[in-house]
């Protein structure tokens, strides 16, 4: 149940596909729930042309692994994959992905939703947006609406 912090562009569907192909559990899971976060070219009614994601490397990795461990205690998960980009990101590029595999659907769906909320509130990443009027740190995560 790995987590990766990467600097290069990410093809989320290929990454999930490749991870799944390596799993030894391919006839045991009946459900896969995934969430992919992608960079938009607008936020809070302003254009955004680029973004830089700063993080706290040791703590970030620790927290992603901790979230996966907690999710595995809460739900019957066969595998989990988290990949989060850092560094410079452009609109339409994937920022992060979460994928959860389970025998039955409820575990994977609930774990995936829980993981994205926890990640948003607990994993030490910070977004700085490039806007027409200059660079600006994103002040706070939204509730997802």
């Amino acid at each position: 149940m790995p987590s990766y912090i990467i600097e290069k562009p990410l093809d989320p569907w290929q990454a999930i596909s490749e991870h799944q192909e390596k799993m030894q559990l391919d006839t045991q899971f009946g459900a896969t729930a995934t969430f992919v976060g992608t960079m938009r070219d607008f936020n809070d009614n302003s254009d955004v042309s680029a973004m830089t994601l700063e993080h706290y490397p040791a703590m970030t990795q620790h927290y992603l692994d901790k979230l996966i461990a907690e999710a595995s205690e809460k739900w019957d998960l066969l595998d989990v994959l988290i990949i989060h980009r850092v560094g410079d990101i452009l609109p339409s590029q994937a920022i992060m992905l979460i994928a959860c595999w389970s025998a039955h659907r409820k575990a994977s769906l609930d774990a995936c939703s829980w993981l994205i909320e926890e990640l948003k509130h607990r994993a030490p990443f910070w977004k700085k947006e490039t806007r027409p009027d200059g660079d600006r740190w994103v002040a706070e995560n939204t509730d997802g609406f």
Binding site: Y56, M59, H62, L119, H121, E140, N141
Partner: protein, 75 residues
């Protein structure tokens, strides 16, 4: 053995302080006061000791890593 002190993101830019290390501190608050020369603390500041979330009254020992940062905005 010293105490490592780190700052991240907007907080680092606001304070204009580089990561540093100090010799002695009893609590996170001591660390803050020493490295910022008792600067006012932003309301929403977050602190971690040895990669775990902590409070300003959390104890600190030599060898610890103390980090100050704004609310996280990843995902």
């Amino acid at each position: 053995m010293t105490i490592q002190v780190k700052f991240f993101a907007s907080l680092k830019e606001q304070l204009q302080l580089a990561d540093t290390e100090i010799e002695h501190a009893q609590t996170v608050e001591d660390v803050w006061n020493t490295v910022t020369d008792k600067a006012d603390r932003p309301d929403n500041i977050i602190v971690a000791v040895n990669l775990e979330y902590a409070q300003f009254d959390s104890p600190v020992n030599t060898g610890d890593e103390v980090a100050f940062f704004p609310p996280v905005t990843g995902g």
